[in-house]
Subunit: 432 residues, 2 copies
């Protein structure tokens, strides 16, 4: 009986697994050096947890299941609700600021498309307990620290930044009611992703009045922070959020990443819970979906039954990132290749057992070691050693009767005969 | 609104995550040095895939879900069926032997108990394409290579080994029909786990004839391979499998792990697909459930629509292992502690921006670096540096006006004033 994998999921053969590991190891290494600690939550949670404050889009795409006890559960489509739950559970004992990261496997029951699968990995980095925009700058720096490390330059990626708080103030100033905001965000979020006429049609469904609609469209065409200051009369909240954006760009400059960042009023974010700075990371050519995005979500912990604590963070998925790295030739160039420290060969079957013994001794001492399952000729075994990129090949032959081994350097081809015990005493346990 | 986590799942706060990472990193390191390549499969597969040849126990415990297209899916309770599917998909292009490992997250919808949760991690190591018992020995060695590396000695753990093929031959010799075997395995698998009378009661449900039942019980009381040779007249298959077991023990001796291994006819394994050597790994005191287990499954790939290819492998879960490591004091002793390479402090607010800039420069160069979000007194910042186990603390003060920094060694307390540019040119990018 032959059964296929489920559409929108991936099989990770060793080659694909090496890519996944290389990407995730990089995420982890950069998170740690930026001072973040790793956490994780269960793959499934109560369904209602995801319904509290995620965007409608996410809730529609949940994989839900019912357990034997009749509990309604769902596979996590994002980890932020679990993060809010976990932080709230220990809110009194966790020292702040909480600087945490995670690499959750996430699930969305949507139609698979390029860069968008039903099962994927996402790098999440969050700072909880700091309302200073310095925290927003630090998480953006962290994302860029990774992207720069893997070789993506300012001609490859861009962080487009705006502010929900500012947008809300500006929308209210052109006559949008507070109660209309949330639904409007979902439409405005589509502006950069749809043709103008399709966007305006969607907008018309939310704002019937043409004059008001025109004002919103004009607002969404603003191209710089200065232009906002020039064009519009700002109320106190709007001015505050404009100042905050300006300070963010200043800090990103101090951090050395300003050239990767630009203001874009069209960045709104689909998720309902953002409250301040929001941003999305794109390939500079705008050929792909967003690589990632994030922002400030100061009300979320409270909505999950905790106290009001400011929070900010981002998520970067593995699918679009991998496509971009592949397109730029950065994957192939940097993927570490598999290597053996030692391959243990034997001249004939009678030394097979000795080869097995030696291989296991090397492994126990921490070295990567292999032997051949085929009892082939020595030349074939040496070919196998070379195929497996062995640095050294140990050949067990008649010298073994005098407890001696032949050690061949696979790079230089040089061979030397060494005493068995000396070889092992000289072979310090590999540092881990 | 406060929502709890689902029963039987775990939240991984940074402390628990550090344990999980330490265990999994060890599994991966040992797998690689034993010559295995990592793979993974999706978290969910078609439900029917798990119904093909797993044990009834596993099928009853599936978390199943239906997607929007009405497809019946299930969260994977084990990865071996996915492995069989993946290998079959590329059977003509994969070089053999296939030596693969994986660390899947698995799910079983059962009542949570000590060492048995509804969501867990399992280390899987398999060799496909080798029918020599040497492959069984190599995977057992690999499991022990890890257990020994984390400090578990022969007084702590034991691998109990038997053979399904031998048991089948012996059972047939006392009158059990071939068709009765599969159901009987599930009962015999319980022998070591139940009181004698409960076991005999279960057995009576399968074997009504008392004489035959007595013979089966006597057979299951055999204590050594020699005893089998002495007590029973062996047919050819039985003799072959006895010889194979003897060769396995010999090889485990050659590999240097014989003292961890013993014969136990009571090891049957619950899963239906095992065909030859089977084993389970226990804590020596027998206080916990099995740490892991495995065996040969030569028919599985064929049952999944592929050719007949021999295969052998094991699985070790993280729950029982973590309990044992904790009990033996091996966790606390070995867990790596969090460390900072540099903490950047400043004498007052006016140098805050310089501290931020310096921190990010250090991180960009690959160093783990931190600064304080609180604009506190220097003494408090130094306390924070010490709490975060910083190796060095950079203090930015009035010397900064002359582009100089104070670098304090946190271990010795020594301080030196260094030139800013010299400091950075001397600071090579950290090797990754």
């Amino acid at each position: 009986m032959k059964i296929p994998p489920v559409k929108g999921t991936r099989d990770f053969y060793p080659q694909e697994m090496a890519v996944r590991n290389w990407i995730i190891d990089g995420w982890k290494r950069v998170s740690v050096r930026n001072g973040f600690e790793e956490y994780d939550a269960p793959i499934f949670e109560y369904l209602k947890m995801f319904q509290i404050k995620s965007g409608d889009e996410i809730v529609e795409q949940l994989f839900s299941l019912t357990d034997r006890g009749g509990r309604e559960l769902a596979l996590r489509p994002e980890i932020t609700p679990s993060l809010a739950r976990m932080v709230n559970q220990r809110i009194n004992s966790l020292p702040r600021p909480i600087k945490w990261f995670s690499v959750p496997r996430l699930f969305r029951a949507e139609r698979p498309q390029k860069g968008r699968l039903r099962e994927f990995f996402q790098w999440n980095v969050d700072i909880i307990g700091v309302d200073d925009v310095l925290a927003d700058a630090e998480v953006i720096f962290c994302a860029l620290d990774y992207l720069r490390e893997v070789g993506l330059g300012r001609d490859d990626v861009v962080v487009k930044i705006s502010s929900r708080q500012m947008l809300a103030a500006l929308l209210r100033s052109v006559g949008v009611a507070r109660s209309e905001l949330e639904e409007l965000y979902a439409v405005l979020d589509k502006r950069n992703k749809l043709p103008d006429d399709a966007f305006e049609e969607m907008l018309a469904e939310k704002i019937a009045d043409e004059g008001k609609r025109r004002k919103v469209i004009d607002l969404m065409s603003v191209e710089s922070i200065e232009q906002i200051n020039e064009l519009l009369e700002l109320d106190e909240t709007a001015q505050e959020s404009v100042n905050e954006l300006e300070r963010l760009f200043e800090l990103l400059g101090v951090m050395g990443v300003a050239e990767y960042c630009e203001f874009d009023i069209g960045i709104v974010r689909g998720l309902a819970y953002y409250t301040g700075i929001v941003y999305e990371i794109y390939d500079k050519a705008s050929e792909l979906r967003a690589i990632g995005g994030g922002g400030r979500y100061d009300d979320l912990l409270k909505q999950f039954g905790g106290p009001a604590i400011p929070a900010t963070g981002f998520g970067i998925g593995d699918c679009v990132l991998a496509i971009l790295l592949e397109d730029k030739g950065l994957l192939e160039r940097q993927l570490p290749s598999r290597k053996l420290d030692y391959f243990v060969a034997c001249v004939d079957k009678s030394y097979r057992q000795a080869a097995v013994e030696l291989t296991m001794k090397l492994r126990s001492a921490g070295w990567t070691a292999g032997f051949s399952y085929k009892t082939a000729k020595l030349s074939k075994q040496l070919k196998e050693a070379s195929d497996q990129k062995a640095k050294k090949c140990i050949i067990i032959g008649d010298e073994f009767k005098n407890r001696q081994l032949v050690v061949k350097d696979m790079a230089t081809g040089e061979q030397e005969t060494v005493d068995y015990d000396k070889f092992f005493s000289g072979l310090e346990s590999k540092a881990r």
